[in-house]
Symmetry: C2
């Protein structure tokens, strides 16, 4: 269904070179400003990012005004690109990032008399950028641009690399901020170190500074997520430039929620239980005291272990059914699917890394106690679950959809029916019709189990998404990894890995829904 994209002009090559250069320069600047406080400061980095943001906005304006307006600029739309979950996520995280920028402006206005004005200018530019980019990606995510392809490619890689540089900067800032704890004693509470942010010599001129700071601290992870989402969408658009998509109608698969019940039911129960324990966990963590923290961790670990083991079990059942199932694999090439699989596997790396680092830390220190044992089992089960789930989703996406199979079967049946019609007309006919109607209205056992598994995994992924996305950080409440890897390194690992883990969960939900439909 997809033709090879035209290859002339070499714009894709030039755009790739631009992307690499911006990214590596950004990387050098960010690490320079993180590890060296004398020559390069946050201000230099912010000026660089402001320039990138302005350039990207200029290009987006150019695209909407000139390229998009022309006839033949966008002849095709890729129906797979920019799915609704991605755009909704972008909007949600965009809004929260916008809020963060407002809080930032309010905070740094208070420091204007003794700190650089760039610190106010940066969130202002970023807020405008958020509005423009969210609008742009919302409208244009599905475009397969045919005009000015070289320039568009360069613009899109500029967008991609700008978002990744913002992401790098945010991750670094978040990690550095977390390490600004007065002492590395772990019993120190969230509140204590959150308050100590930024007030060294320069004092804030208005009283609400502390509140604003605490507010924008909470909103940082959403900005990190937003950048990742926007980068993913820009990448898909870049891949689609110049592509000629046959406008093949979406498989009209209807969603029959009645087909399944056990999976969704247990899934919803799990989500509710997860939400309850999550709220309890957050309340306990905010109350100080080691005993409370330990209780909170105990609840959180047990809940997560339950969720992850149930998921692993059901995925194993799903994989067994794949082995028994004789559906054909799709052999047709599909770039969107390859990209989806790539993003899925790539994003799962984040959680993989965190889990393995935990395993090594706990095993190496030979830590005793029920909390460490629970932490270790959680990490091992997560690794298992991630591997199984990746396998299940990728296998599922590569199978021939059931309804296509059915059509094929119908044709064969009709053919067979015609051949044998002369022999024993009445009996044969009744039987055949019976088979056809039964198979199209009632699901076979295998299909049903697959759908149950998908529905359950989908809901379980939602609760595993909610917990870290809205602030659960057991990685910092528990001391063993911090002591083992030192705080800086562990903060870097968690701050890079966890946003990818969150992205992975959302992506899994979308992919599982697709697998559900074609099963």
């Amino acid at each position: 269904a997809v033709m090879e994209r035209a290859h002339h002009g070499g714009g894709w090559l030039l755009s790739g070179i631009i992307c690499i250069n911006i990214l590596i320069l950004g990387c050098a600047l960010v690490s320079g400003s993180a590890f060296n406080s004398v020559a390069i400061t946050a201000v230099h980095r912010q000026i660089f990012v402001i320039v990138l943001l302005l350039l990207t906005m200029l290009w987006m304006l150019f695209y909407t005004v000139f390229t998009f307006r022309k006839d033949q600029a966008v002849l095709f739309k890729d129906s797979h690109a920019g799915p609704v979950w991605l755009r909704a996520g972008l909007l949600l995280f965009g809004l929260l990032s916008f809020l963060m920028d407002i809080f930032k402006i309010a905070t740094y206005v208070g420091y204007l008399h003794c700190d650089s004005a760039v610190k106010v200018a940066f969130p202002v530019v970023q807020a405008v950028f958020l509005l423009i980019q969210t609008y742009f990606l919302w409208i244009h995510a599905k475009d397969c641009v045919q005009l000015h392809t070289n320039f568009t490619r360069c613009g899109l890689t500029l967008t991609l690399s700008t978002n990744l540089v913002v992401w790098m900067a945010a991750v670094t800032e978040e990690s550095i901020h977390q390490t600004e704890i007065p002492d590395l004693n772990v019993s120190v509470s969230h509140k204590m170190y959150r308050a100590s942010y930024g007030d060294k010599k320069c004092k804030c001129s208005h009283s609400a500074c502390g509140t604003f700071k605490e507010a924008f601290y909470y909103l940082y992870p959403f900005n990190i997520e937003y950048s990742l989402f926007a980068a993913a969408m820009a990448y898909v658009m870049w891949k689609n430039v110049g592509r000629l998509v046959e406008d093949h109608s979406h498989h009209n698969v209807k969603f029959h929620p009645k087909d399944v019940c056990l999976g969704p039911l247990t899934g919803i129960l799990l989500v509710v239980a997860g939400l309850v324990t999550f709220i309890v966990y957050e309340i306990y963590i905010l109350k100080e005291g080691e005993e409370k923290t330990n209780k909170a961790l105990l609840i959180h670990f047990i809940m997560n272990i339950v969720i992850v083991s149930m998921m692993s079990l059901s995925t194993i059942i799903g994989c067994i059914i794949y082995r028994l199932d004789h559906r054909e694999h799709v052999s047709e090439k599909n770039p969107t699917r390859s990209l989806d699989v790539g993003l899925l596997v790539g994003a799962s790396m984040g959680q993989f890394i965190i889990s393995y680092f935990t395993i090594v830390a706990v095993v190496a220190t030979g830590a005793r106690g029920y909390l460490n044992a629970l932490n270790l089992s959680w990490a091992i089960l997560t690794v298992l679950q991630l591997g199984l789930q990746n396998y299940f989703i990728i296998e599922g996406l590569h199978r021939e959809p059931f309804h296509v199979m059915q059509e094929a079967a119908l044709h064969t049946n009709a053919h067979a029916f015609q051949e044998h019609a002369e022999m024993n007309p009445v009996v044969e006919r009744n039987k055949s019709i019976y088979i056809l109607t039964s198979s199209s209205h009632k699901l076979s056992l295998k299909r049903r189990v697959l759908k149950e598994v998908c529905a359950f995994l989908l809901l379980a992924n939602i609760i595993l998404w909610i917990m870290p996305a809205f602030g659960a950080r057991p990685q910092f409440d528990h001391s063993i990894e911090i002591q083992f890897y030192k705080f800086t390194m562990w903060a870097a690992i968690v701050n890079i890995g966890l946003p990818f883990g969150i992205f992975y969960r959302m992506h899994s939900v979308a992919s599982l829904f697709e697998v559900y439909l074609i099963s």
Copy 2:
């Protein structure tokens, strides 16, 4: 020419999951042992690597004894895989790594009375592994395995991840070792900190320890290179499992060295000049004293700037010719070429990163003095050269070979000739023959310039390969980056980036030779 690889069994998926797990576990262990000296030591890491090495050797044995012996196991050979430069490089670096292991064994035998026996066992196992793996890859690099595909895939990813874990461990060890300088004063000589390696409490029982240590220190970079080469070859083999290659004869392009002269001549002059300055640089660096070091750096920087600017200029000429040239782009899909391009671009990242970090450091500190200016210009020109060269090579590989074009033209001409033969037979015929003979025996100006550019770039890449591969490390002889990024970070960047840079240069040489042939 290449059929889509069969997709059933999901062995490629399983092997991918195995690879990811080994890599991330390895990563966690290596960073654990690097940053935490209490719970995880080098011994734990070495035990892990020993297990991996033994497993890989077992699989290789299984492959040679069971899979390869069967009929139909290897029906096809990928003529593009495992090119001669890669295998020759593997052999060379393998030999030097083998030497390193022997020196290591000799050294750690002297510590046996007070240090772990694993430190002797590890080089022993590694030496055996080097022999077996080099033999295995030399013989089997071109195989497209058709039997036991799932098992073979898993075995190959095991090989791949083992090599990458060895690579990570070697890079870390090298970086840590370099940071064990008594003080971070940069005027400290190579010799001084090379001698201080490892002798803290445990004293060596034989007298040759110091010499052996110094020897295996010099050989470390070759081991890092060896692992990268082996990993690249294992990856290509993994990609080729189950592939059905049509045994299309190699384009019988002959290599006419007489076609070109200016390019090779300047190239050879450059190589000779580079070698001379390289030797002078090494002699000056080994003599102590800041003045000598500065003189050495001055020579090295100027030579590199000359090489890189000449390369950039000639690449620009080549790119202009591509714009003027109306050869078709190859539209056919070619996995080997995609892989080649991927490896080329990926490997160039290493040098890109080093150069950009240098630029940021020099610009940010606003360092004055001719050495800093030269360092900065070298870095900027290198970035330029890398971008241009990547563009040139990728464009060149994607063009239709000239001889194919000629055949097409011949056909068209013959056709036109037949059509018009009746009209004015004699004149037409003579003209046509004249055109044909002239175009096939003498090169057109465009083709000739392209070939000159390729030949020159090829030789220039060779000298840029020789200098870092045989020990030029101006990155550590010059103080600015070390002061800016702190020694640990800069050592990590250089030790990760430079081996990729060396790989990139070798890979470029091979690709440029291909471009030369099809131009």
